[in-house]
Symmetry: C2
DNA sequence: CGCCTATTTGACCTTTCTCAATAGATGTGG
DNA sequence: CCACATCTATTGAGAAAGGTCAAATAGGCG
């Protein structure tokens, strides 16, 4: 894993959020970071910790889990390109546990770097802020998901969201998503019981919407899944496209609009 | 309603979020705003609008409702001192409908004012950012509330949250909260049916935790309600106290700690 | 091959929803 | 000030979604 990889992952992501210049991106060049390979279920941040570094996810998934709830409820999921604890830049006290869902690779970057970056480049500062707002919008959407959908559409919606987010950073273009998480993880994210999660997935399979084999989910009927879930990706704040990282999104957007 | 009222409401709130100087607060003096009296159920912002003003709530409650869900799910509730659409400063497109729960008074302040304020005072900029982060933390907590609690504890938790938030701006000190909202509103916020909301409230009454008469809720056994809901106000990010607006919070904090 | 974990299945139970009807409040025009 | 219209709260009964428990399979991996 090259140091440059962390650089480019973040550069792509920030560029997808706001217009930034080559000079802006160049500021990322001196991003000092520690690359860490995480084992499945490994805890990155513990409830109550004071974070001093940002956790930039390069590969795999991270999840925030509520510290209190008995079933270890998942309150959010992060995909590569996300900074899982962006908010700790301004309020370091950690609320909940940050845990790897399956093996993951992260770059740990001192808070200081982002504070300096924000001070030096208004455009980057803005991009980071938009990243934070995107997290917020996603969280709001999870509230809706838990509050107004039944198990089937809830699971479908989560899968749509993850797919769209992966695609916005150039992954899962072929609708094959790595799924190192278990059905119980999915259950914890959708607030249903593991048993019911299983039955729900079976139902999705029966409708020929997806295949879930081993550690890969393949969505076989994206338009139908989108329709079932009433998935509207607007809230993700993905820019229509402009270059590398988001150009492949066009088909997705078109398809959704078409539904 | 004096213009100065909007000023002081916001000043108190910002001061409760971050250390600000008298000079900083003085910048609020030239806050131009239009005071609007809203009727119950009146819509302030519509889904799809582009906001150009911030909506500072002075009195009453505002709620964000999802535009899609059939039951008009409430995704967040705002109390006086909140800026209900703070996030539109940076992403103006409105997602959901902003609606008054009961009669309310708001001050409409052009976005421009806050952008200038942020540019002129780092402390104020930081306070606004913390306000945004608080919204985010509350949203995350709603996810937990919907995901991991049953109807009874869910309603109890929401009431605890509203009470704590009101108290943090000097209201409802005596645990009497104005409740212009209907049981159906409560149901929409907790994602339960109105009928079940009614039964849940009856249960809370039966346990002598509260009285709900007409347009006032009186919490008669705060420690027990807190215990029932496993309410931990940490996430609200209320500063321990320092002056006017938050000094009265001490008893609350003490009581919660004691439970 | 054998252990450990994840998935799958069946039976039964609980919470919550839905529908429908009643009672109470609030408000309005005459 | 009353009668009606409307909205909100309350109650009961039956239905549905999802939860729990327990056991059986199926994979993955040393």
């Amino acid at each position: 894993m090259q140091a440059g990889f962390a650089f480019s992952k973040l550069a792509d992501r920030l560029a997808s959020l706001a217009p930034v210049t080559a000079d802006d991106l160049h500021l990322l060049a001196d991003m000092a970071s520690t690359i860490a390979h995480l084992g499945s279920r490994q805890t990155v941040l513990r409830h109550g910790d004071d974070a001093t570094q940002c956790c930039l996810l390069l590969q795999g998934y991270l999840s925030w889990q509520d510290a209190e709830s008995a079933d270890g409820q998942i309150t959010s999921i992060h995909v590569p390109g996300d900074i899982a604890n962006l908010h700790t830049l301004h309020r370091p006290r950690v609320d909940g546990n940050l845990i790897a869902l399956g093996p993951a690779i992260v770059a740990l970057v001192p808070h200081r770097f982002f504070h300096d970056l924000s001070a030096r480049s208004p455009a980057m500062s803005r991009a980071l802020l938009l990243m934070l707002l995107t997290d917020h919008a996603i969280q709001r959407n999870w509230t809706v998901n838990l509050g107004s959908r039944d198990a089937l559409t809830r699971v479908a919606h989560l899968l749509c969201e993850i797919t769209a987010r992966l695609q916005s950073v150039g992954l899962a273009r072929d609708f094959r998503l790595p799924s190192p998480f278990t059905q119980s993880d999915l259950a914890a994210a959708c607030s249903i019981s593991p048993v019911h999660a299983n039955r729900t997935i079976q139902e999705l399979r029966r409708c020929n919407l997806l295949q879930w084999q081993g550690k890969t989910v393949m969505i076989t009927d994206w338009p139908a899944l989108v329709r079932l879930a009433s998935f509207d990706p607007t809230y993700l704040g993905i820019r229509p496209s402009h270059e590398d990282a988001s150009s492949h999104l066009k088909p997705l957007t078109a398809e959704v609009a078409l539904v």
